[in-house]
Amino acid sequence: MIFEKRTERIIVPMFFMVALFAPLFLESNSFFVGKVTTIIILSIFVMSLDFLVGRVGLITLGHALFYGMGGYLFVILSPEYEAVNFWVYTLYICSISALIALVTGAMILRTKGVYFLMITLALSQMMFYYFFDSLEYGGGDGMFIFVRPETSIFGLSFLDLDDPQHFYYLALFSLFNTLVFFKVVLRSRFGRVVEAAKQNPDRTEALGYNIFAFRLTCYVIGSALGAYAGFLFALQFGFVNPSFFTWEMSGMALVMSILGGSGTIYGAILGTFTYEGLQYFFEHLTKEWLLFMGSAIILMVILLRKGIAGYLEKLLEK
C-alpha cells in the first residue's frame, strides 16, 4: 500500500469517490464544475510545491515560475488559430519545463535555505517582468488562447476539452496520477534518500549519496508537474497573464500547502480546498473578506500543529 497512514487511506479514497461522482449530479456547464476544476488544478500545483518544500526540503518562493511557464509555453509554442494535440503539447511543455528546471536547478541548488528561497523568488520575478514588459506576449494584460487543443490518441478521441465536464475529469485524473506518482516516488529508495537528505544533508553525503543529483531530480520533477498545472489552468480559461508568475502566486500555494499539512502530499488537496472554500465563503459574505480570511489563517496556524492533515491524523490514527 502506498498510503502509509490510516488517515490517507480514509481521506484519499473518500475524496476521489466524491469527486468522481459529484459532477453527475450537476449540470455539465455548472459553475461548480468549473470552480472545482480550478481548485483541482491548483491542488496539482500545490502538491508539486509540497513535494519540493515539505519533502525534499527545497523551500522555494518561486514555484509560480513554472506555473506561468506552463501557460506561456503553450501560447508561445502553439500556432494561434489551430488546434494542436493535447498529449503532444503536455509532453512538450513538461519536458521543456523540466529542461529549464534542470539548467536553473544545476545553478541555484548550490544555495541553501533562505538563499535558495530568495534565488527562486528572483527567477520567478524576472520571468514576471519579462512577460510583463514583452509586447509580443501581451505585456501586463496577458494573452488569449483562442483554440483549445484536441485530445485524440492515434485518431481516437474520447475527451472534449470544450466540455467542462470532460475537462473536470481530465483534471481529476491528473490529480490522482500526481498523487500516486509522488507517493510512489517517496516510498521508493529514492524517496528515502531524499528524506534523509532533508533531515541531515551532511550525513547523507557522508554515506555516499550525491545529494545534489537527488535534489536536482526532485526539482525537475516538481517543476515539470507545476508547469503541467499551469498549462491546465491556462487551458481552462484560455487565458494567460504575467500575474501567474508573481510571488503572491507562489506564496498562496505555499500557504495552501502548509495549511493542508506540509510534507503530507495529500494535504495539498485539503489545504487547497479549504483555502479556496473559505475564500469563496467569506467573499460572498462581506466586502471585508480579507480580514476574515487573514484571521482564519492565523487561527488555524495557532490551533493546528501540522496543518489540517496533522489534525486529522491526530483524530484518526489509533
Partner: protein
C-alpha cells in the same frame, strides 16, 4: 607489504586562515590493521579524517587510495570506494527510527536508488544489513525507537552502527567511544578487535585504555604536525608524547 597500504597521505595540509590545522602530514594506513591517531585537542585529528573521507579539501598535499589519487573527488565518491567514517559530533537522522537510520546507510550498496521499483528481496537484504549493524553495536532493543529520543550514549552507538552498515573496507572512526558508558565501550572495543581482522581502521580516540589495547600502530599529532608513528609501546615511552599529550600516566590516580 607495500601492497597492503590502502590509504596514504603525502604532505597533507589544511590551513584555516593562519591556523595550520594539519601541516604536511604523511601517513600510511594498512589493510587489516587498526591505526590509532591521538593528540591533544585541536591537534588536527578530525581535520585529518575529514580530508581522508573527502568532506574537506586539503590546502595542499594528496590522498591516495590503493595508489590512486582521490583528494579532488566529491565526498560521496569516497564512500563508493569503500571509505566510511563516523563523526565526533553525533550526526544522525533525528526523526527516523534507528533501523531507518541504518537502512539509509545500507541501501546504497544494494543499488536501485534512482529506481522507483525494487524487488522485495533486495529490500529484505537492506533490512537485514541494517539490523545486523544495530546488533553489532548492541542497539537491538532500540530498533524502532526514534533517534532523537534515545539517550546520548545510545546515539553514539547508532553513529557507529551507521558506518558499519555502509560496509566499508576502510573505517574512519572519530572518537567512537566518547559519551559511551563503560560497558558499551567494552563492547565496541571487542567489535573493533573483530573488525580489524578484515578492515583497515583509523581510530581517533581519547580513551587511552581503548587506544592502547586496540592499536597496531599509533600516530601522534600535535598542533597539526606529525609527531611520531610507531608501536604502542614506543609511543608510550616517548617523552615528547608524555609532555604534549598523555601527561603522567594513570592520570586518574593523580587527581584530587
Amino acid at each position: 607489504m607495500i601492497n597492503d597500504i590502502v590509504l596514504e597521505t603525502e604532505a597533507l595540509s589544511k590551513h584555516w586562515g593562519g591556523i595550520k590545522a594539519v601541516d604536511e602530514v604523511s601517513l600510511q594506513f594498512r589493510d587489516r590493521l587498526l591505526h590509532g591517531v591521538v593528540g591533544p585537542n585541536g591537534a588536527g585529528k578530525s581535520t585529518l579524517l575529514n580530508m581522508l573521507c573527502g568532506t574537506l579539501k586539503p590546502t595542499s598535499g594528496c590522498v591516495f587510495h590503493k595508489g590512486q589519487r582521490i583528494d579532488a573527488l566529491k565526498p560521496w565518491k569516497f564512500v563508493q570506494r569503500g571509505i566510511g567514517r563516523s563523526f565526533q559530533k553525533t550526526n544522525i537522522y533525528p526523526e527516523m527510527t534507528c533501523l531507518e537510520n541504518c537502512a539509509i546507510s545500507a541501501q546504497r550498496r544494494f543499488g536501485g536508488n534512482f529506481n522507483l521499483f525494487v524487488s522485495r528481496h533486495s529490500n529484505k537484504l537492506v533490512r537485514k544489513a541494517a539490523e545486523q549493524a544495530l546488533a553489532q553495536v548492541g542497539l537491538e532493543d532500540r530498533t524502532h525507537a526514534i533517534a532523537a529520543e534515545i539517550s546520548y550514549g545510545e546515539q553514539r552507538q547508532l553513529e557507529i552502527a551507521m558506518v558499519l552498515a555502509i560496509d566499508p573496507c576502510i573505517l574512519l572512526l572519530d572518537e567512537p567511544m566518547a559519551g559511551m558508558g563503560h560497558d558499551e565501550s567494552l563492547r565496541i572495543i571487542e567489535l573493533l578487535k573483530e573488525l580489524k581482522k578484515t578492515y583497515c581502521i583509523v581510530l581517533v580516540e581519547h580513551d587511552m585504555d581503548a587506544i592502547f589495547e586496540l592499536s597496531d600502530q599509533l600516530t601522534v599529532l600535535d598542533n597539526g604536525r606529525h609527531l611520531i608513528t610507531s608501536s604502542v609501546d614506543e609511543v608510550r615511552a616517548d617523552p615528547r608524547v608524555k609532555d604534549a599529550y598523555l601527561g603522567a600516566e594513570d592520570e586518574e590516580e593523580q587527581t584530587a
